[in-house]
Symmetry: C2
Subunit: 216 residues, 2 copies
């Protein structure tokens, strides 16, 4: 059964998105800086169809899971800024016609919608019956590969609280946002489930990798 994992960047003060998230500023004020460590990497360049990019610690982190992921889960707020029902259904995510997932993506929502097939292998499925149902469908779709939680923080926390996460990579940036959404707040005893398996850093970020105790 494919493992459930996530990779998230946080500021040194613990925020995975800045304050005042909006359609114009989906990562919140200052939130883009959380991902700077990845933008320079060869892996990210490849994802964007570009040449070049840096190798090394950050690139290893960015690429660690890129070939193991068979399905993605994300929260409604990560998929888009629309609240309530889907209206004219014109919103197909932030990522243009060819989103960077290249897998089935299961969007958690209270509002049913037909699947939307994008270019490049990404199809958005809308799941209205909760996180466990979404995980079950994602695992089926992943066909033995792993399932990644794309975000955002609220979705990650739901899966942590439900004790369903097998592995997590947390990238701490030397950035202070001073406000926003905290990744690891209010997850209760779930914190005891994990052991550190790696801690490495570049000049850009410190990368912490955890695995559920007792798993390989």
């Amino acid at each position: 059964m494919g493992k459930l994992k996530f990779s998230a960047s946080v500021s040194l003060d613990g925020f995975s998105a800045g304050p005042d998230q909006s359609r114009d500023n989906p990562l919140g004020v200052g939130g883009r800086a959380l991902h700077e460590w990845a933008f320079a990497t060869r892996t990210f360049h490849e994802m964007q169809g570009q040449e070049g990019g840096e190798t090394g610690v950050d690139d290893e982190q960015a690429g660690a899971w890129s070939h193991d992921t068979g399905a993605t889960i994300m929260g409604r707020n990560m998929f888009g800024p629309i609240r309530g029902d889907w209206g004219d259904e014109a919103w197909n995510g932030w990522w243009g016609d060819d989103p960077p997932y290249h897998t089935p993506v299961f969007v958690l929502t209270h509002h049913a919608r037909e699947p939307v097939e994008m270019q490049g292998g990404t199809t958005f499925h809308f799941v209205t019956d909760g996180i466990e149902a979404a995980l079950e469908r994602a695992r089926e779709a992943a066909g033995g590969l792993e399932v990644s939680i794309g975000g955002g923080a609220a979705t990650v926390r739901q899966y942590l609280r439900a004790r369903l996460v097998d592995e997590m990579r947390i990238h701490v940036m030397p950035v202070l946002l001073g406000g926003g959404e905290r990744l690891l707040d209010d997850i209760g005893g779930a914190i005891d489930d994990f052991e550190l398996v790696e801690l490495v850093s570049s000049r850009a970020a410190a990368h912490f990798t955890y695995r559920r105790r007792g798993e390989e």
Copy 2:
């Protein structure tokens, strides 16, 4: 004029002390784990009058400031668990007869008390007229050396908010405490004062060093 600096260990979820601090548990539940990175170092062994200890990244961090510090400032709660007036004045800190400071230590308090001279060069002075007065007195006492904020988090935040800190080292441990006291909460625009000058890690911790912009 001697720089004002502090060094603090935080959990990955941003806490510099665990929940439920008490006389028996001054670092809060789980808080001792925040300092594990330092305990193994040669510098820490020397502070304890012991042989041995590890060298390397963590030891460089632990020893970085040990010879530059001429005075220390700490909050009342770091000095001890007693609240209100000093009563019989029997409390002389958590650290025994020979505290590890070996400098004058200025304790912020609302309750006046005569200085207490300990062994090894540590004298506790009690300052009742605020953080700026304490800093002025500490700088005089430091005689050109630097002034260190010993803690706790509330005291660090007061100096950050007042824009008085010149340099800070933040040691992020791969520990999740799930609650406690946050180091970098509610410091407002002070976060913009600093630039990263170093980010290094060992297997034990990631060490972030910041300096006030424009300073050497």
